[in-house]
Structure formats: structure tokens, C-alpha cells
Subunit: 461 residues, 4 copies
């Protein structure tokens, strides 16, 4: 997953990027990094730190990051390859000068490219797929930075929203399918912003301009923006629908659509497709709040705050033997007996991946006195892994991959289970164009090159 | 404010206390501490750390806190006197053995007591009022721990919910007015728990037994609980209504009342007292969610998620010159244009203290396109400082202390303003008995000894 | 052991104290601390840190220690009671104001005093004996600081060189027997210095004035020095001869004597008392260098650098199984084969306590090819523990306590062993007056009150 | 400068390397690093830390460095390019596997090679010259690790003692001139050791076998050692005589010579060349101790400990305004008045580079009462910078570069000044073969490629 943001054309670039990262923190909490280029002194700076933006950066750190152009990266916790050396921005010196890069997405031919580069003697510093892009640029035989970037990006397949600086110039690019979001804004006092989500524009007082288009490559120097030769289109655009379902912030505007509105509509449609004879509707906070309100509104069943989420939860490392099962769920959520006792409850969640947390939640609701539990999902069954940048478990771990809805309902211990249909989901957002639904449908449009040629698939963000 | 929790009668005492502190984190984020007593080896342990529980404690720290009895403390950030030496538990050795103490509340005669003790040669380690209690116990000429504690507590005026261990024995006490909460629970597998709020019982799988009564002093040894001589009653009980209004977690049960229910009822009553001709009702998340839902339900106006809160916000230390006014508000909240644009909006908040944040929020709503803003408070005007443990600003900073509602509405820039009436508030929770409403009414029941005798008033938690 | 230093009468007090601590670092490496009083603002400051002065203090730390009077303490690593809470300066607030204290020495009635104070309700923060002094001052019923200090010091028995500040006034005192050193100096640019050793004066460019006398109590305010009523003399002065033998720096002047000269003379006398038929004389560096040079000079046998000491050695925590015996000795010393091979070697050391290191050294010399090893000690056999501030092992661990010289020679594996006689040692320094020789003779002059009355003996510095 | 050490053929490899680094600490205190390869699991490990070995490594760190082969590096503080990214071992993955490298010395064509590699698209992680070697190996078109290393090393000019591991195989090489030392040893219990100095063998109980020869390349796999094709000889061997003069530890055996013996002989010869009519001979401790003893022995003037060195000195960052000139010298040395007062003093030092410290020392001796100061240097005037790995100041800063001995004597404020002659120095060690004397003579044998072709000269270790 991950989040990226860059600011150009203002001496406060790093501070504004820091703000943007704050508002993208939901896209990853493992590590954060900022790189800047100080045109006046001709030097670049970088700081990376594990954990949250607020933990790794402070006024002193930011004062050590001067420059008129800055980029930031929020790293999602992924199974393998943790550690600062795998965090971003990547930063190198090559023959054209200082280069920094951040990447949201996942390349599907990264390991094939890496094998070729290693054979030629390239030395890799990390295991992240994004590093191949840097080597491709540095080794390009073409003349000029723009040609070198074009050369490199043309060799990539898969999902990438990219920010690159070479000295004081910022480049922003989105893969031809447009899997991951990338938006463009401007600062009223001067300055251009590129970010994963529009909420990063809001926090710094920037105005939303438009999405960066699939296949588009932008060159930004100070306050001037130029469109470079676009990347070769490979088919219909495929923005990731899971951003709307779960990942993006509800106050973000994505591909012409309000995320909150989309989820509210998913909830309404879900109420039509899977009504329930119940006393109250509750949400699994906070990601399902919009959908649950939509369900409540459409069904006429009152909405209640039956589950409370503890927002201070960090890493849960201890498990007292007395604490009993569902302990990890209880660290994050508490069920409110006064609301639930004796009630028939509709629980709305955004999606169901492994099912372990949901099972614990259902158990908590029963212990708090719920008479019936009707589980409703505001998206279709997740049956396939994502190779385009969403960190999904393997197919074996996906509860819906090999089970019928009845089997899932039995596992969760619910009285009824209802998934939003694919048609329902897509109808709802049809105005926004076509979408990648690979995790629901298995329909992978960008070629899975590494998988086809026997390389491991890299999993990044 | 602050939160306290203790567990007795299980070798996992520190781990369970740690869990309880997790769920009390909303009561303070400045520092956290745990003290234990290991009966087998006859030694006590303590660890305190600045910041969140999840920052200061990990598995290794907890493994260094063995013992069958443990207490924890969550410290709220107060103006003066930060630093670990002012954090709790306090821990000393006196002639009866190892003594540890945590305190939620505020003594109103702390400085008078301190002056007397200093004159006698007592050496203080901190500036917190709780330390006088420790000296009073150590200097008591009475025989036996119980008598010494009784001697000390009888000299205190003001608000205190206290946990004290002397070696392996835990004492829990609540001041005669019962200002601050304290509840009692038991662990199914054996063990007794005392905590500020019932949500701390839930997270560790403990069962709620009852409130500790005003003036009650309990002695807990392993799994055995004895009532000691109660403290002299000084009048009608006075639990703090602000706990219900704002401070406690919505899933907590306080004084026989569900916090969520109380707030929902405040919101309903508010809708009756101050209706509005509007299109949507929104909440200032998360503390006003219950009240806003109550308002929406009662008024029939739809509830929307018009403000999004960023839960990752830490300390906001930078303020880019470009960021414009309301910047600090924008770090924490974002207004959703797609929901607000062109709408007449009712905003429900729990209370209004200084007014600066609310003013920024109103401005954000206007910028996001709201046509009208109707501000509704689910509590009466806050006009008086609290001397019983809620960290309120000085009278001069309280927006309602010297302004009419019209002046406040003008300051906030709203189209209308409505406060829940005192009668409305108290009617709603009348089943729970009488309450301290000093911050609204100025009616201070426990004598303000220090103030009356010319000492500074201490401000603790 | 420990080292203490204070500076009064200059705004650079903390910086100069820091320098003095640097030069007293040989007196303890476990922790370091500085306390200051800023007269202008009327506030006190303190910083303590584990480890070396250079590790715990830097420019930023020192800039946070303003004031015209400052004191510093170097703590020796002692068996029990480590941790910052047991490091100094002790600092408290009592009714006369801010009090800070540092102590070099060991009280012999500390535990009796502590028991009495605890019974009266005093709360102790540490386990160091010095804290009783602070409580005695705070609880004194006398009027005025000077009387309170006199009251407190008059109750102490044992060894103490003390520095105390109450607000901006510095008090310096030495116990009536004068066990531990304390010297007085002045800064050319204005300012008074008191320190454990004269090398602390040298480093800050101060001039040596004189020793603080046994039983003397000085009051220093800015640049003015007053003698207060002296403590009651209890007998002949008893400065610790072990300071001359081993502990003090060779460039220090103690009790009218150069430490280097004293050791050189010990070595000469040793050569007369225990000659050897040998090819070379080597020293156990660096503490025995002076004595070994004296031995070589007197005997006419050439001095060689046969043992090299690694000055970077910190804590040796690992011991590879392959490393063989004497490994810990080898971390600190290396024997030079090119010098030792085929030679008859006299090894001179300052004293022999446990004998384990010496045994390893002898083995190293043999492995490096020494034909004969003649061990010479520039002090008599150490047979008794010290209760006046030198950290000695228990009697059972002292190799000379229950063994004949022949048994010791056999244990060490040497061809001959010779100790300097008590008479030889005392003759050599007779100009400097009488000395405490308790560790050699068992003649304890200051009463061992705690031991006699059944309390544990405290072991401090 | 820097120090390197590797161990192969024992599961305790990292622990033993750690010991070796301890004894090489005098070769650099800026940073320390260890890399290992664990053959059983097929993974490599590395840990680097700023400061001393004892600060950066502990038992836990070492337990995270398993493997049968390990190498360590001690980094000297150099003017530019500090920071961990410039510390060693360098570690990369290339097509043959995991490669780690440490380097002592300085390449004279590093920047030419780097420019070529950058042009080809190589990405550098550091500014140290050693990194070019890694890229040359990775890009070699030859087949097999040995051929690739041979290909890379053949392109280097200048000084290098190198340790390289590729997976579980260790390679050790010394440049054809043999500028920097490298010795070979074996562990009695099994295992091969390669290190900068023989004192690193002693500490781990290893036996000295022989020097690695100039131009020799060794391949070590477990306990098996093979000689590979040697590097092309470029002329007579040129080991650095400054290692004997100052840099190596006195207990080290270098090129068939005891360092202590060499220095003692330099001192004797110096006494013959520059006698003095004086009362005492003193050393500038510790590096000049051997030479001063030689001077005293040959001249018959008694040796005294007139200067005491404080071994605890870290970074001296503060300079009180009162402290006066020579303050920095006084932090490190103290002059002993009791020894010096009224005496005619010969001071022996190993070499004279900038002269600032010596000037301060002379001033200290005068203030301590020395009547006459006769300064003697146990090496010739240093007039030329070193490009082969000794960190010398620029020519402008070398006191002897543009001054006559009389001018130097006047600057130092001495009564007489005497340098050991070049002939005297070389005669003394003539049995050990020819030496590089470039810093004295300006005779640079290995071509200064970068300088000749207009590149900056890199300065490493």
C-alpha cells in the first residue's frame, strides 16, 4: 500500500510534505521518510525513521531538510523485508546528479529486471522492487534525464505511482493502467503538490486540480509543470476498487468520486441485497462507518455505537494466559453491553479477508448479550491475492477462497451473512469508469511477468 | 484527570494492569507507570516512562515487573510540573515496608499540608499533591498500616480515588464526596481488579462487580477483600458530571449509567431544547458521536460523517507560514466537501471550553461549502475552573465565563448556538443520583482550603 | 572511593567542575553528576548520567547547568546499589531552600542513623549512606543553615569529605580523622575550588592553597571563605595510606607529599628489602610505574616495558570458549615476547588484593618466555577490609588474609615474592604525619558503630 | 590508518574478531564494524556502530552475528566523510553471493576509477575509496570469484591491505609495495586469523605465523589456506616506517621487528646524535615511552614520569574562557611539579607533526618549574603528506615543511631541539629491509594517479 507526496516550488517544501504524510498515515505505519533538494547549496538531504511520522520527525529533523522540492513516503508493514534499508525515499547519486524516488504500487516484472541487472554487475542495497527503477535510470544509455526516465519506465510492468527528483526537478508518473491513485494540486501561495490522496492537499491548504492520468509523466520545476511523452497505454484504465472499499480515507476524493459517498452507497445497496430483521445496525469502526450508516439509512434500522475502538493501540505483544481467546480483538475493540444486550444486531464491515478478527468480534457481541448477529460486508468475497500493491494474504489464508458463504457463516458464528454483489458494487460507482477487481474476480490485466517466467512475485506497496 | 488501575491475586498482575492502562489511555498521554510487589522474593519494582503505554512498555519491561499485586497510572499532560519525577506510581520505603501509591483527583488542602510537613523536615521529591499522602502515612504515629492510612486520609480534603500498596497488600479508597470514579471487578480465573473505568475490566476479561463507594476504604490481600472503617462523610455524594459529558469512554459504565446512553440522551434533550432547521447533523468526532446521533435521532435530521478525525496526530510542533489560520485544527480534523457543500449543518459537540478549536472547525465547514452552521453543545456553559481533578483552563480563558451566548455565537461565526440547559442535563441522569456540577455552576462542595488560606491551588489529576 | 569537586564564585562553575571531574575519573567510572545553583534566577539544576564524564556530559548538558556555584561527583562501581538513584549529587528542597550534597568516604553509623530516621517517618530515596546526612540537616531543630549542618555532622562517625550547597552557599567539611583527601585552591581569575585531589585544580588552571584540615568546616560564598566551628576531634589524624599506595593519581600532591615521589620511594625501599637476581624490572602499568622505576633505580636492574596495557578496555562481557584461561587479564594487558623471552624478570605491582589478576599476569609472562618471575609488592599484605571508603572485597576474598607468603607465591606461580614491610612503608612517608593503615593492620580508629550494634555495614565511597 | 582483522574456521568467529578489534582500537576510534557469513543458514550479517568497540558491541549484538567466518574494521577519524555509511565492512550482494570487504590503506587512483564506474551507471553508497573495489569485482566479466577479485585488484594503485569474504570464503591481499601491515596467525583450537597487527593475535590466543607478503593474495576456506596468483610487483617493497615510529602498538611485531625494540633503538641513536646536558629524561606518554627509555639508557640521564596522561579523555568540546591557553593539552596531560621544578629536562616525543600540542606541553613544563627544556624527536622532520593511508595534515600545516629547526625551536619555546636523522632511523631498522619514508623524504613510489590526472586525492585509511 504505502502513501507518497511531493511538494515543489516553496522553501517550506519539507514541512508541507510532512503535513501531507500526516494525513496519509493510514496508508502505512511501519516507516516514514523525506528527501529534499536544496537548489541554492546544490545538496540533497534525506531522513528516514521507523514508525509513525510523529515519532520519526520533529522540528529539528525538519530544519535539517532544507530545499524547494521535497518528497515523502509512508511505508506499510509487509511480511518480509522490514528495516530502514527497505524504506523510502531511495536516494542515489548518478552521473546526472542526485536522484530520489518513492513508489506506491507493485511491479510485476521486478525480479526479472533485477536478475538481469545483477548479472551485469549492479549492486542492490535493498530488497524492494522500486530499486530496479533507479538502476534502470542510472544505466540508461540515453541522453538527458527525461529520456533516461522514459527509458526506465517503459521497461516496467505492473502498478506504479512514482515520484522522482533529479536535483531540483520533480517527475511524477502513473502506470498506464492507473492502478494506484495520484492527484495533483497547487498551493495558493505558490507551489505544486502531488500526492496519493486529496486529503494530503487539504491538510496543507492546497487546492485539488485533477488526478494524474494513467500513463501520464509530469515534469515539475519550481512552479512550472510540463507533460512529457506519456507511457504506452496497455488497455482500459484499471484503478483499484479496493481503495474505495477500504483503503483510502473517507474524506478523500478519488477518480471523481467521494470515498465516503461510495461507501455510503455500497451500504445502501447492501441493505437492498441483504436485508435483515434486526433491532440495530452497528459498524466495525472506523472503516465501515460510512457503509453502516448507508445500511441503516436504507433499511430504517437505527444506527448505534455498539463497538468502541481504542485508537491508542500500538503493537500488541503480550497475551496473558488469563486473557482468554479473542484477546487481540479486545485490545482494539470493546462491545457496549448497554447497547447490545438482548438485541438483534446487524454488523456492517467493509470487507472480509482472513476472518479471524471478525470471528472474535462476533464472539464479543454474543458475550455482550446480542441475541442475533447478522454480518454484512460492503464488498464481494475476496478470493484472489493482489499483485498490484495491496498487501493481501496468500490465497490459502483468504477465507472466501475455498469456502461457501454458509461455511463462512458457520466459522464466524453468525445468524446470517451477506456480501455485496460485484454487480452491485460496480453499478454504484459506474460513473467513475472501469476498475481493477482482481482481488474479487481474479481478472489480472497487467501481465504477471515474474510469475509467468518462474520468478518470485515481489510484494511491495 | 489521569487513570488508575490495580490487580491483585494473580502472578500476571503487571500484564493485566498494562492492559487496563491501554484502555484508560484516553485519560492521559503524558506518562505511564507500573509498580508491583513480588511477595515471594519480597521486593518491589517500578517502571515509569513518558508518553503512551505502548511507547513506554514492552515485553521486556513487563518481565522485569514480577509480582502478585500491581498498580498502574496514566498521567494527563498538565501545564506545570511535567517530567518523570512528577509521574506515578510514587514509591517509597517506610518503616512498614515498600509503599506505592497512585492518585486520580486533586487535593484542595495539599499545599497547606505540604507546608507543615516541610517545616517538620520532610523532604519532597516531586511537586505533585499526591506526595503529601505518602509523607502523612510515613509520619503517622499510629500502629499498623491500616491505622496509618486512615490517619493520613482523614487529613485530606478534595478529590481522590487512591490505590496504595504496602508490600503485598492493596488498599483502594475514594474520597467521601466520590468525585472521581473507581470501580471494582474480579477475574474469572482468580484476582481482584480496581480501576478508574469499567472499560479497563472489559479488556482484561474481568467482570464488573460494583463502584467503590464514596468514602469507602478497601483492603485487598490476594483474592480476599475487606472493608475498612469508611472515611467520615462530608455531605451528599458528588460524582463529577463532566466524566459523563466528555471524559469517560463511551463504553464505560459509570455510577450505574452507560456513558454512551447518557450522551445519547443529552443529544436527544438538546434537540428538543434547541431544534434547528437544517439538512444534516454532524458530530465533532469522536467524543460527540453519541450526542450527535441522539440529536439526529430525535430531530429526524440525517446524521452524516462531515468531519474526519486523524487519529495518528501526535504533538503538532510545526506551523508552516503558508498553512494559514486554523492550521492546528486542520491537523486533527478534515471537513468533507462532498457532504457539506450547499448544506445547512447542525454541528454537535460535547462541551465548549476555550472555543478556539470550535472556531477553527466552523471556519473549515464554511470553506467546505456549508451554507449555514448551527452549533449545539450537549452540556451547559463552562464558567468555572475545576479544583477536583479536571484540567480546565483559568477562568479568564473560559469562553463562557464572561460572555453572553450571542457574543459566543459571534466569536464562533455560527448562525445559531444552543447549549443544553443544566436542568436538561441533570434530569437526564437523575437516576444516577446527585452530581458535582461546579464547572457549570460554581458550586464547590469540598472546601477549597488552600485557596481560602492563601496557598496556591495545586493542579493535579 | 569516588571523587568530588566544587567551584564557587564564577559563572563558569559547571564547566570548571566538569574539567575537575575529568581529572578525577580514575576515582570512579560508574556514574557522574553535577549540581548547580543559579543565584540570579534562584533555581537549582542537576544532571546525572551513568558511565564516564565524557559519555554523560556535553556542551548542551552543561549549558543547562547555569550558576555561580557547582559541585560534581564521580561514582565508583560498587557491588550493590547501582543505578542513577544511588548516584550523586543528592538534591532536595528543605525549609531553608535548595540543598545539594556529595560525599566521598563511608559512614560507620549510617544504618543506625537511618533506622532512627525511618522510625520517625523519613522517606529515603536511595540506599547510599550519604542520604542520612540530608535528612539530619532537614530535621534539625536548630536555627540557621550553619547550625543545622553542624548539628548533622556532629552525629556522624566514619569517613567523610563532604561538599554541601544550600542555595548559593557552599560548605566543605572533612571528618575529624581526615580519612579521605580534600584540597582547597583558587582560580586566578576569581573563584574558589575544593576537590578530592590537586590534579583537579591543575586541569582548570587553579592554584593549590592547602588541604582542608581534618574536622574543618568551611563556608564559601562567592569568593569569600569563612571557617566555621570545627568538628570535635576524636584522636590523631588518620589519612588513608592506600591513597598513596594505589588510588590517587601520581601527579597529585597529597598531605604535603607527591604521590609519584611516595611510590618511587616505596619502590626503592622495596628493592632494599627484597632484592632479586634478575635481568629486567617491569611494571604492572600504569599504577605501579613509579614504584617499578624506583625499584629499577635502586637495584640497578634495567627497567623495561614488558607489559602493555590496553587503555580502551571497557566492560569485558564475553569469554570465547577458545580464549583459554587468563582471558580477562589478556583483554587488559599483553606481554611483550621480544622483551621477556629468556629473561629473569622482576615484576613490581602496587598491592595485592585478590591475586587473580596477578596470577594471570604471571602466567602470561611465562608464556612469553620469562625464565624466572620475581613478584614484588610496593605495600604490605592487605589482610583487612576497609570501612572508611575504599571498596575492598570481603576478608574471605583477600588472598593475604589467611595465607602465608609461601602459599601466596605458590598460588601465583612465582619464583619469589616480596612485600614492602609496614615499617618500610611508614618510614618512607613519615614526614607527612600519621596514617590509617587499617587494611594492612586491622587498626580501625573511627568506631565501627553499625557493626558493633548489629547493623549491616554500608559500603559506599 | 584504520585496523582490520578476520577469523575463519570457527563458530566463534565474530567473538574472536571482536577481541582483535579491541586490541587494534589505537588504530581508530571513530567507528567499528563486524560482518559475518553463516554457512549453515547461508546468510550474512553486519553490525556497524560509531565510537569505540566497547560502545558499539555487546553480547546481544555479537549473538546476532553467527557464522564461521567474520571480519572487523576499526575506523580512524578523518576530516571529511564521517557517518556510518562511510564506515566498514562494506557489504553487498552480487551475482556470486554475499560480499563483504574491509580495507586499510589508501588508493591513489580511486577517483579515476570511480568516475569511470559512475559513467557506466554504477550507483555508489559512500564516498570511501574502498567502494570502487566492490564495483570492480561485481562488474568483472571474468568467470569465478578468484578471477573477478584478481581482475579488480589488478586495476588498483596505492596502498591496500584487504580482507574480502564472498559467502563463506575469505580472501586476504596486500598491495605489491606492502605499504600497510597484515599478519597471519592460527588458533590452537582450529581457525585462521588475519590482522593488521600481531597484538590482535595475542589477545585471542592465536599464534603468529608470518606477514602476508607484498602482492600476495590468500584464499581461506574454513581452516584451509591457498595462495592465489600474486599481484604484479611494481618495485621494491615499501612498508610504512611511520607504523614503527608512531602508529603500531609497542607490543606488536612488524616485518620481523619488535616495535618496542625499534623505538628503543631510535631513542638510543637519538641520544648519540643529540645529547643534552640535563638532569632528567621524560617521555610524552604513552607513544614515546620506548624511545624515551632508550634515550635515558644511552645517555645515563635518569628517566622520570614528569608528564601524566589522562586516559579517560574523550572529545574535548568545551573551553572555559578562564581556562587559559594550552587548555586542550591540559585535558590530556598534566606536568608533575614535584619532579620538574628546578630541573633541566629532556623531553622525548616520537614525531612532530603540527607542533601545537608540543608547544603547549613545553609551556606546561615551564609553568611546573622546569629550568631548561630540550626537545628530542625520535624521527626525522615530517615534511610531506601521506597518500598511502596515514592521516596527515596538509603540507601547509606541517610545521617542518617550511621552517628551519631554529624556527621550530623558537616556536616551541625550547632551549634545544634535535631530530633523529633519516640515516639514523634507517640504519637502526636496516635488518627489516627497505621502507616507505615519503612523509619524511617526499619519495612517493606508488604512482599518484589521481593527482597526476587532475582528480582529487581521496583520503581514507
Amino acid at each position: 500500500m504505502c502513501g507518497i507526496v511531493a511538494v515543489s516550488g516553496t522553501p517550506e517544501a519539507a514541512k508541507l510534505v510532512y503535513l501531507g504524510m500526516y494525513s496519509l498515515q493510514h496508508r502505512g505505519q511501519e516507516a516514514a521518510g523525506i528527501a529534499t533538494y536544496d537548489r541554492i547549496r546544490g545538496v540533497s538531504h534525506r531522513h528516514r525513521a521507523p514508525g509513525l511520522v510523529s515519532e520519526g520527525f520533529n522540528e529539528k529533523v525538519l530544519s535539517g531538510l532544507p530545499g524547494e522540492v521535497a518528497m515523502g513516503h509512508i511505508r506499510y508493514s509487509t511480511a518480509g523485508g522490514a528495516g530502514l534499508k527497505n524504506s523510502q525515499p531511495i536516494r542515489v547519486v548518478y552521473r546526472e546528479g542526485d536522484l530520489a524516488l518513492t513508489h506506491n504500487g507493485n511491479l510485476t516484472n521486478a525480479n526479472e529486471l533485477r536478475a538481469r541487472l545483477v548479472k551485469e554487475g549492479a549492486l542492490f542495497q535493498s530488497t524492494i522492487d522500486s530499486e530496479v527503477i533507479v538502476h534502470l535510470i542510472a544505466r540508461s544509455q540515453r541522453q538527458g534525464v527525461e529520456a533516461q526516465i522514459d527509458d526506465a519506465l517503459s521497461q516496467l510492468t505492473g502498478a506504479f505511482s512514482l515520484l522522482i527528483t533529479v536535483n531540483d526537478t520533480l517527475y511524477a508518473a502513473r502506470d498506464p493502467f492507473g492502478y494506484r491513485p495520484l492527484v495533483l494540486g497547487h498551493l495558493p501561495g505558490g507551489g505544486i503538490v502531488v500526492a496519493s490522496e486529496s486529503c494530503a492537499l487539504d491538510i496543507m491548504g492546497a487546492r485539488f486540480l485533477r488526478d494524474v492520468e494513467p500513463g501520464e509523466v509530469l515534469c515539475i520545476r519550481g512552479n512550472e509543470l510540463t507533460r512529457l511523452r506519456p507511457l504506452r497505454p496497455e488497455g482500459e484504465m484499471q484503478p483499484c476498487i479496493f481503495e474505495l472499499v477500504y483503503f483510502a480515507r473517507p474524506d478523500t476524493r478519488l477518480w471523481g468520486y467521494s470515498v465516503d459517498r461510495a461507501r455510503r452507497d455500497f451500504g445502501r445497496r447492501l441493505a437492498d441485497e441483504h436485508p435483515a430483521d434486526a433491532d440495530i445496525v452497528i459498524s466495525v469502526p472506523d472503516s465501515a462507518n460510512s457503509a453502516a450508516l448507508g445500511y441503516a439509512e436504507q433499511s430504517g434500522i437505527p444506527f448505534e455505537l455498539g463497538l468502541i475502538r481504542n485508537h491508542y493501540v500500538g503493537r500488541t505483544f503480550i497475551e496473558p494466559s488469563q486473557a482468554g481467546r479473542d484477546f487481540k480483538v479486545r485490545m482494539k475493540y470493546n462491545a457496549v453491553r448497554e447497547i447490545l444486550a438482548g438485541k438483534r444486531v446487524v454488523v456492517v464491515d467493509d470487507s472480509l479477508v482472513r476472518g479471524t478478527t471478525s470471528r472474535g468480534l462476533v464472539n464479543m457481541l454474543r458475550e455482550a448479550g446480542a441475541n442475533e448477529v447478522h454480518f454484512r460486508l460492503a464488498s464481494p468475497p475476496v478470493r484472489h491475492p493482489c499483485f498490484y500493491g495491496i498487501d493481501m494474504p496468500t490465497k490459502a489464508e483468504l477465507i472466501a477462497a475455498n469456502r461457501t458463504p454458509d461455511e463462512i457463516a458457520a466459522y464466524l458464528g453468525v445468524d446470517s451473512l451477506g456480501y455485496l454483489s460485484s454487480e452491485g458494487m460496480l453499478d454504484t460507482v459506474s460513473d467513475a469508469g472501469s476498475f481493477c477487481t482482481a482481488c474479487f474476480s481474479g481478472d489480472y490485466r497487467a501481465p504477471l511477468v515474474d510469475q509467468e517466467r518462474g520468478y518470485a512475485m515481489s510484494s511491495h506497496c
